[in-house]
């Protein structure tokens, strides 16, 4: 498989053979159209089945599978990334019954530091369609949960995922990437707070219904808004909505009169013409003693005559205005993303240092095992006699053990003399065993 990316050579990690490599392979909203992403998406059940299958494949050690509506990514540790890529492609093709050629060109493949960096960026929402959106971190946590459940994650992935969560959290608190609303309903709430300050006790009137409008009402309730009134052409529907919000249903004809007492109006009806016109609003302004009035018009065609915005202390935002606000906020977030990249650079470096420190582990384990084997063999030999071992026998045993422990090092020390690095070796040995020789 020649599909290994160039970055493999430029990766800064100098890993000894035997140290597992990290491979990340996947596609996202930028590399693959939604039609393809749909075909490759894994449901939670499929994810678990796939993880189970993956870790039993010989070239894969650990595995994590992340599947959201915008991306499908597999993170594995393996000995040979090139082999693992081929294997994973085949696996996905078999699992999803799609020929490899249909998705291979949409795949990106990252190894080691590049894989780590990519995962950090995804979790911090830098790679998201809406930069800064907070859901992705939860989705990665769920994917990791599945990997733990299937025992598909080991030393490397556990550490990697914990670092990932840490980095994502740090970026969220230290940069403004999650600040400012990037959803329509939340942008409306942010505006209301710039007009009214606290939303506590502000009265809300919902005209009509609709997902976005109801979401806005829920946000308002969370900000401890006061009375919630619901006006709907179909009174019964209004009543059931009002019950959901703990509010009160009013008749559609009452809207005009209620303008005098409410503060925030969210309108989302299917009416072809304007539901509220300037004359109706200016009539109540004096009665309201000019307390501000905020209209959030989510309907298309619009419910609130835009000329209402010209009245003093009255503010009207329609769906396009709110989209404009969201657009501005998105641009701000991109600025903050630059700061986030710096934090990620630092974290990638740290992780790579940790991986290098892992290299000593297998050597230490092997050393222990070798000494244990020698000790076991000698103990067995000593206990073979018919009578219980006496002091002399134990002493013989200990000497034999020491000789065997030191046999290989001694050979090397003597043998290496003519190669000229004996001094170096002696120094190392003295340091390792804390020897005090002149």
């Amino acid at each position: 498989m020649g599909s290994l990316p160039d970055s493999d050579q430029t990766n800064a990690v100098n890993l000894a053979p035997g140290n597992p490599r990290i491979l990340l392979m996947g596609l996202n909203h930028q590399t693959a159209p939604v039609a393809l992403r749909e075909c490759l998406a894994f449901s939670p059940e499929e994810t678990e089945t796939a993880l189970e299958a993956l870790i039993h494949r010989p070239c894969i050690r650990e595995a994590l599978l992340l599947s959201t509506c915008n991306r499908v990514e597999v993170v594995v540790t393996c000995d040979d990334p090139a082999r693992a890529i081929a294997d994973l492609e085949g696996f996905i093709s078999d699992f999803k019954h799609i020929p490899i050629d249909e998705f291979r060109s949409s795949l990106y493949r990252y190894v080691d530091n590049d894989a780590v960096r990519h995962l950090f960026r995804v979790a911090s929402s830098l790679d998201s369609m809406v930069v800064g959106e907070p859901q992705i971190l939860g989705q990665i946590k769920a994917a990791y949960g599945a990997a733990i459940h299937r025992r598909a994650s080991g030393v490397i992935l556990n550490r990697l995922l914990h670092r990932t969560f840490f980095v994502a959290k740090r970026i969220r608190t230290e940069t403004g990437i999650g600040d400012h609303a990037v959803s329509i309903s939340y942008a409306a709430i942010e505006l209301a707070r710039k007009i009214f300050g606290s939303l506590e006790g502000r009265r809300v009137l919902l005209i009509g219904a609709g997902e976005m409008a109801e979401l806005a009402v829920e946000h308002l309730i969370r900000h401890r808004a006061g009375e919630i009134l619901v006006a709907n052409r179909t009174f019964a529907h209004g009543v059931s909505l009002a019950q959901r919000f703990g509010g009160q249903a009013i008749r559609f004809e009452e809207v005009e009169a209620r303008l005098a007492t409410v503060d925030i109006i969210i309108s989302s009806t299917g009416a072809p013409g304007f539901v509220v016109v300037p004359a109706q609003v200016s009539a109540v302004l004096r009665h309201r003693r000019n307390r501000p009035l905020f209209f959030i018009d989510i309907a298309v065609p619009r419910d609130i005559d835009p000329r209402v915005n010209r009245l003093s202390n009255v503010y009207v935002y329609d769906i396009d205005d709110l989209k404009g606000v969201v657009e501005e906020n998105v641009q701000d977030r991109q600025q903050e993303a630059l700061k986030a990249e710096r934090i990620i650079d630092e974290a990638v470096l740290r992780f790579s240092q940790w991986r290098q420190s892992l290299e000593v582990v297998p050597t230490i384990v092997a050393l222990h095992r070798k000494l244990e084997l020698i000790a076991d063999a000698e103990i067995k030999k000593t206990l073979q006699g018919s009578k219980p071992p006496d002091e002399a026998a134990l002493k013989r045993m200990a000497t034999a053990m020491i000789n065997k422990f030191l046999h290989d090092p001694t050979q090397i020390l003597k043998g290496d003399g003519h190669r000229g690095n004996r001094q170096e070796l002696l120094g190392l040995l003295q340091r390792l065993f804390h020897l005090d020789t002149p």
């Binding site: 710039k194 009214f196 003093s312 606000v325």
Partner: protein, 273 residues
């Protein structure tokens, strides 16, 4: 004294810089630092004023230097009080820079007494001066808050949320703070006028002498009286209230400076103009 004056100016200068930096960068330490510097400057300012009172035996308002010193002190003091209640760090840019300008002007102004010392040792006069200066300071802040209100209102109305939308507090808070400043300022102004008339009666034997400063002070008072009346009866608030606060303060500035320099009258006896 000169050393202390320079230190105070330096503190105000750094505080202004701190508030400006906070306006752009929105970092909490900048806001805290700017406030601390302003507080430090205010302490120095207070010592300057006390020293002035001790050396001259009365409030040192018989020359432009002293007048500006008192005006700047009142402004900073009222800002600190308003800040404690309404938390308007952005207003710090306005208050600190205004205090800085006033103090620099004070340091460049002559401090030759213009009037006989005897004129100043009157309960009425001290009350008159204290009330007028504190009242004017509150109304100066109301003007600053009015400007902030108009900026924020414009951002919301025009739907182009530029530089200010995020940095300024809500309209509601600006309106409440502006109203508080106007109410306090108006009350002090009223006291200032009454004590002024009482003093005039004591010195010149008549309450009213159609002096230009008297006329303009009454005009100022009427403007704010109208504003408050409209607010209480028909709920004039928000934009209109903000515009009136700015207009009112422009008239005060004219009364304070313009009348001194352009028109003659018996207040000139005190400031030497």
């Amino acid at each position: 004294m000169q050393m202390l004056l320079l230190t105070t100016i330096a503190a105000y200068l750094l505080s202004t810089a701190g508030y400006l930096a906070f306006l752009f960068l929105q970092r909490k330490p900048l806001r805290r630092g700017a406030l601390a510097l302003l507080g430090f400057g205010f302490a120095g300012h207070t010592v300057l004023l006390v020293a002035g009172v001790v050396t001259s035996g009365h409030l040192p308002v018989n020359h432009l230097h002293g007048t500006l010193l008192v005006a700047g002190w009142a402004l900073t003091g009222v800002f600190l009080v308003i800040y404690g209640r309404y938390r308007l760090p952005v207003l710090g840019v306005y208050a600190a820079s205004l205090a800085l300008v006033i103090l620099i002007a004070a340091s460049l102004s002559p401090s030759v007494p213009a009037a006989d010392k005897g004129l100043f040792n009157s309960f009425w006069l001290i009350s008159h001066i204290a009330a007028v200066f504190l009242g004017d300071a509150a109304l100066a802040l109301a003007c600053g808050i009015g400007i902030l209100y108009l900026l924020q209102e414009n951002a919301i109305k025009s739907k182009h949320h530029g530089f200010f939308f995020r940095r300024l507090p809500s309209l509601d808070r600006l309106d409440a703070a502006g109203y508080a400043c106007i109410a306090i300022g108006f009350a002090l102004l009223t006291i200032g006028l009454i004590t002024g008339f009482a003093y005039a009666h004591a010195v010149w034997g008549r309450f009213w002498s159609a002096d230009p400063k008297e006329i303009w002070s009454v005009i100022t008072w009427l403007i704010y009286a109208a504003l408050l009346h409209q607010r209480l009866t028909v709920g004039w608030r928000g934009r209109r209230s903000a515009v009136m606060a700015i207009v009112g303060f422009a008239v005060i500035l004219f009364t304070f400076l313009g009348v001194n320099f352009l028109l003659k009258g018996h207040h000139g006896v005190f400031t030497g103009q």
